[in-house]
Symmetry: C2
Subunit: 458 residues, 2 copies
């Protein structure tokens, strides 16, 4: 009867739970932009205060970047570590938002109520599903279901530079839990819950090509002086061959083919590739020839340009011959691809492609390997059942195109397996203007965690 009482109380307390989330969303904790450093600290402090109000022994610990929130509470087995991140993506282009990204609002849409605002889905809304489940559990039962350690990061959207040193520094404390829960993934679709068992890794690189030592007049020098935009364009154009394969030497070392069993399960999901692409006005899969869309986004590595800039980019025209051009490039990694090896090979390839008079500088934006989860742990089956009960549909084990390197670090540094459960949807517009989180995702997310806590502590 305890679980039912908790679920019922979750239903009753949805409005105050939404208000708390809105308070957290109002804090503009953009981790990539130094201008928002203080906001990140404010978000960390907000979480410490909220956890403390639940009796958690919580604190914000300084790092060279943004603080980590660590908290401990409860007793009993299993000892769970819950991870989420309180930092959010930048909001540009701001002009495409229909309202202030940091003034969240519940809105009616044809698909139901949504909470609109930066971070509502990635990851503040998701993170709070677990906190709210715990809050209600404690309110109903007067105690915690088991021992829980909280770890909230503030640099997930900027490549987690402080994470590995932090996990190493506090290894004794953070390696004690039995299992990590990570809430930063999605449902398979609107009605199908999922546990993500394959995560792509991520390597972030920024390169700046320099030609002349200053911007030149394209009339005076054009034709005789090297143009770094042309050099950068040639490098980018050379990163893929005609079949969509990536040309960085050794890139496909450690890229496995998925098993026949996994392929069968994925085919059984009835994924609507046409609808997935059509939803963003595309129709032709743009990846490697001969691969399905699910493979392209779950089990195949990628190389994408995330941003490029050089020369005059304002209104009108300026006949400048730029001195510099730069691009941000990310690689999604799978299997046992080695991010550092790939970084080295990529940089060498770029160096080798430079014409005379050009130089290149690289900036490291993080490197995390792919993760494959330990689905033979009994907790996976218990959680799958709990999710299936809540959503009245069989939960799926799925892959994910996104990268949550934390799971790899938990395994490597803490020896800890991770279970990834989340309630985001493909149309949440995370990383885009007008990000939203379905109120249903939030509500059933909280209920799902209550069921999972109940299941794994039985």
């Amino acid at each position: 009867m305890t679980l039912n009482a908790v679920l019922s109380r979750i239903d009753d307390d949805l409005d105050p739970a939404l208000e708390r989330l809105k308070a957290l969303l109002r804090i503009p904790s953009i981790s990539t932009d130094p201008a928002y450093k203080e906001a990140c600290a404010t978000a960390a402090d907000w979480l410490v205060a909220d956890l403390a109000s639940l009796g958690v022994d919580a604190e914000a610990r300084a790092t060279p970047g943004h603080p980590m929130v660590v908290g401990h509470v409860g007793e009993g087995s299993p000892h769970l570590l819950f991870y989420g991140h309180y930092d959010v993506q930048p909001v540009d282009p701001l002009s495409l938002w229909h309202r202030d990204p940091f003034d969240p609002e519940v809105q009616d849409t044809p698909q139901g109520k949504v909470l609109r605002g930066r971070g509502s889905s990635d990851d503040k809304g998701q993170l709070m599903t677990f906190v709210e489940a715990c809050r209600t559990w404690k309110a109903v039962n007067g105690s915690w279901p088991c021992r829980v350690t909280f770890l909230f990061e503030g640099e997930e959207e900027s490549g987690s530079p402080s994470l590995v040193p932090f996990l190493k520094e506090f290894k004794d404390e953070l390696s004690k839990p039995d299992l990590a829960l990570i809430c930063d993934t999605g449902l398979f679709d609107r009605d199908t819950p999922a546990i993500t068992t394959m995560l792509r890794g991520l390597l972030g690189e920024e390169l700046t090509v320099t030609g002349a030592d200053k911007d030149l007049h394209s009339g005076m020098y054009g034709g005789a002086a090297m143009n770094p935009v042309r050099v950068l364009a040639r490098i980018i154009a050379s990163l893929h061959d005609e079949t969509g394969r990536i040309t960085v030497p050794g890139f496909y070392d450690g890229v496995p083919e998925i098993t026949d069993e996994m392929r069968a399960q994925w085919e059984g999901l009835g994924f609507d590739a046409e609808g997935f692409l059509g939803g963003v006005d595309l129709s032709v899969p743009a990846g490697e020839t001969g691969r399905s869309v699910l493979e392209m986004i779950w089990s195949r590595p990628t190389c994408e340009v995330n941003g490029i800039t050089g020369g005059y980019t304002g209104d009108g025209f300026k006949t400048v011959l730029p001195s510099k051009a730069s691009a941000k490039i990310s690689f999604r990694l799978v299997g046992t691809q080695d991010p550092l090896e790939i970084r080295n090979n990529f940089r060498r390839m770029v160096q080798d492609a430079l014409p005379p008079d050009c130089s290149v500088e690289f900036k490291d934006h993080g490197a995390g390997p792919a993760s494959v989860m330990a689905t033979d742990d009994p907790a996976f089956e218990k959680a799958r059942q709990a999710l299936s009960d809540e959503w009245e549909k069989d939960a799926a084990f799925i892959g994910s195109g996104g990268s949550i390197p934390i799971a790899g670090y938990f395994k490597q540094i803490l020896g800890l397996d991770s279970m990834l459960i989340g309630f985001g949807l493909d149309d949440d517009l995370i990383h885009s203007p007008n990000e939203k989180y379905d109120v249903r995702s939030f509500h059933k997310g909280i209920r799902s965690w209550a069921r999972v806590l109940d299941a794994v502590t039985r």
Copy 2:
């Protein structure tokens, strides 16, 4: 004796002449940026007032863009039309300026005194050399040397969109002069005056490639969705072949080889190609294989990327898969290359290179053909002698890599030949941060015009 009195008065009045130029330079008349529209009007009004103070019947005439300043004064033959432009280039990146671009200052440098500020060389400083020569002439003689029409444009740096309609509208009035004088070019080197007899044309294009209808998460869609930055990079990379030739179909139609005579004259100039490139930290000519640097910048056409942007370009990293990427591309044209034909062929080439799901939009940033001057007009020989007298070194007939389409329009629309005389230097940093004009260029420029006026009116 009249000329000597004028030259002597020019020497005495250099300081007030510099103060007048500084006043004009303080007006931030950036024509490409709509935010500076009012400043452009202010600059036009300043010129009208200055001309009026010399007895010129001057006015600022409205256009769909920025105003044209037109003035008439004097009597006698030949009737000269003097052209300059009062608009200036944008100033970004502002962080690279050592002082406010619109707070001009005379500074001491190892090469002598310079006037530092946006527009000091291009073209306010040059334009004022002629105005100051006229001012002194009139002060000394009490009258003008001949009939003079002034035409100051405010859109030269943004492709002169209003110029052709304006010349057509006022054709009766503006086609009366016998010869146009244009002051927007340079010395051959610090000590060698020059009359520019070949000018490259300019075609400005902006293209924006669109893939998905919104920015996407590169984890969620990366691998399956078309990335427009990659598409744009491929297009840019394809615009030149390995020998540096431009691949737009029909591009070299109308590109002449220079005559043996011209080649011999250019070789005799002792151009220091190594120093020209070395001055901006380059060493290898980047144009067509087998061409000299002077050919590359004076007599060969080019295709340059002047700016590129797409996706996230702020601090840090954002794993976005951009919806759009755009580039500003300019073509310098020579001989009888047809800008409109090249525009059509370029656009068709881009369209043909687009993969499925991508669309492209083009923006027209002006199109002007190359110009070759009528050097058999006796005024050219008179002016060459006047310049040689002032600089105590033979003046040269040279080419110019820059584009001053006005000369072509004067010929086509007004039937007017142009003579291009200017005093800029290669190290003036026009279009770049920290633009300057040598005080010597300004001073001897004023003296040069006094000598040219004296010579052509004899």
